[in-house]
């Protein structure tokens, strides 16, 4: 089956600055993907290229098996919600939703209105007079009610409080369960979404660091702490992502070599203290290591 998205050596360059560097990945149908990474890591550029809002410098990106530029076959099946989306100044919330209803084939008007109520959006208010959080809610409603086969959310929650964000995650899960589709969720609030994701793509400095099933990442990385000598003996021959020492004690972040290896058990048997690492911490230690190796390379 054709992947929903396929990036081959995808590169974006502005003069000498490379913001996306030979990235390869595939996105399969009806899964929720997390596109994770710091601000400026290249996430937004990738999403702009796959929606043809920016041009590819080299390599290619195919969406639904086709090149997206000026391709209605592709664009009609995508809904891309981004934090920086602009709306016409004089448009009210209702105008924006009516326009979206004209554009998206699977638009569900009743569902959109139920979300408007849920997020307490004033339909008659001009979009430019909305608070930051309400503006985010407009994007979230469009993204959910469009039911587009490929729905992309780029940091869609700016200005939303924890309760409203939870409402977004819950609505996304419920609607996704009923109307499966491919979702690409770009975020830096990794802990909040880690359980929603089926697959994780981690981008740092324009490079793809992780491309894996979220479940496979669980338990792969952990921290071991204890007396320096003992931890170092345990760590030798293992992949150490990060280490911090305090006096005679040391804490190391360690990655298991292959999927069935359980370094945690061995460490515990050695009397070392083991703590699991969340997806967010895992991403942070990957990015830290990437930054360090970049500096060493230069």
């Amino acid at each position: 089956m054709t992947p929903i998205i396929e990036a081959k050596n995808l590169t974006k360059q502005y003069g000498d600055v490379v913001t996306v560097d030979r990235v390869n990945f595939k996105v399969e149908e009806n899964k929720i993907y997390g596109l994770l990474g710091r601000n400026g890591a290249g996430k937004t550029t990738i999403m702009h290229m796959l929606t043809a809002q920016q041009f590819v410098s080299s390599g290619e990106i195919r969406v639904f098996g086709e090149l997206p530029f000026e391709n209605n076959n592709v664009l009609e099946r995508i809904c891309f919600i981004k934090e920086s989306q602009k709306y016409p100044d004089n448009f009210t919330v209702r105008d924006v939703l009516d326009t979206a209803a004209d554009v998206y084939r699977n638009w569900d008007r009743a569902y959109a209105l139920s979300l408007v109520e849920k997020f307490e959006l004033p339909l008659k208010r001009q979009v430019k007079k909305l608070s930051r959080g309400m503006l985010s809610a407009v994007g979230i409603i469009i993204g959910l009610a469009s039911r587009a086969p490929l729905t992309i959310f780029d940091e869609p929650y700016l200005g939303l409080d924890a309760v409203a964000r939870q409402m977004f995650y819950d609505s996304l899960l419920a609607d996704y369960a009923e109307y499966p589709r491919t979702v690409l969720l770009s975020t830096h609030l990794i802990d909040e979404v880690s359980n929603l994701l089926e697959h994780v793509l981690l981008i740092d400095g324009g490079k793809l660091l992780i491309d894996e099933e979220a479940e496979a990442l669980r338990g792969r990385v952990y921290t071991v702490s204890g007396p320096k000598a003992a931890v170092e003996v345990f760590a030798s021959g293992r992949k150490v992502l990060d280490s911090q020492s305090l006096g005679g004690m040391i804490q190391m972040t360690i990655e298991n070599g292959h999927s069935d290896e359980l370094g945690q058990d061995e460490a515990e048997a050695l009397g070392l203290s083991v703590t699991p690492v969340s997806l967010q911490q895992l991403c942070v230690s990957y990015m830290k290591r990437h930054t360090v190796s970049n500096k060493e390379g230069k």
């Binding site: 702009h48 809002q53 209605n72 448009f91 009516d98 004209d102 554009v103």
Partner: protein, 231 residues
């Protein structure tokens, strides 16, 4: 739903702003002129001539500039093709301007034929030269000129979106240089009399017909700029 029609519906969504605003401006200019004509009539036979009608053309120039700024990023964000945006906007604008020119046509007939210049010899919609010739000219002249102004504005704006501040600066300087050079050559070669003669030998309808290829070039360039514009 077809995406071109989605763009058309979007461009026409703010009915009050799209249809009423320019007429409100034109209307207030008209009312001021009418009041002046009523309170301080000109000496016999002179008549009260005003260029207030120009406001709607200036409005359309500004509308042309504002349109891509306001609606293009929105439609691009909704995943609408650049060319669907372009054609939808072009069709919506043609429709709006057709109605506007029809309005100007009617008003010029009301003014010139039915009300005898509102009884106060005010020439606001029915102007010499502008309204000369066939009755159809009273529709055609404003239609062609409104289109011309809109696309001039749209082209400038989409050029700016495509090439940014630097591009805009270069283009401005270039057009000033070329314009000055052109004027200099015309003066140097002493072409002014023949140019004047050319214009005076043409009716307004002929001149507005000549704006058509120019408008077409504006529109074609706009398409080119929009096609290569990113966010």
């Amino acid at each position: 739903m077809n995406r071109i029609s989605a763009v058309i519906r979007m461009q026409l969504r703010k009915k009050l702003l799209v249809f009423a605003m320019p007429w409100l401006i034109l209307g207030s200019s008209f009312v001021v002129n009418l009041l002046i004509a009523m309170t301080s009539p000109m000496p016999d036979g002179e008549g009260f001539y005003t260029g207030g009608i120009a406001s709607i053309f200036v409005y359309l120039l500004i509308q042309g500039i504002i349109t891509p700024i306001q609606t293009f990023p929105f439609t691009l964000g909704l995943g609408i093709h650049r060319s669907d945006y372009y054609w939808g906007t072009a069709l919506a604008t043609t429709y709006i301007l057709f109605l506007f020119s029809l309005g100007l046509f009617l008003l010029s007939i009301i003014e010139g034929t039915w009300t005898d210049h509102w009884g106060v010899d005010l020439h606001f919609f029915d102007l010499p030269y502008w309204s000369d010739g066939s009755l159809l000219n009273r529709w055609w002249n404003p239609f062609a000129l409104l289109l011309n102004q809109f696309w001039l504005g749209f082209m400038i704006s989409s050029f700016f979106k495509r090439f940014g501040k630097t591009g805009m600066l270069i283009a401005t300087i270039a057009s000033i240089v070329i314009g000055t050079l052109g004027l200099y050559i015309v003066s140097y070669q002493n072409w002014w009399p023949s140019i004047g003669e050319w214009f005076s030998n043409r009716t307004m309808a002929e001149i507005t017909l000549w704006t058509l290829p120019v408008t077409f070039v504006f529109a074609a360039l706009s398409k080119l700029f929009v096609r290569r514009t990113t966010l």
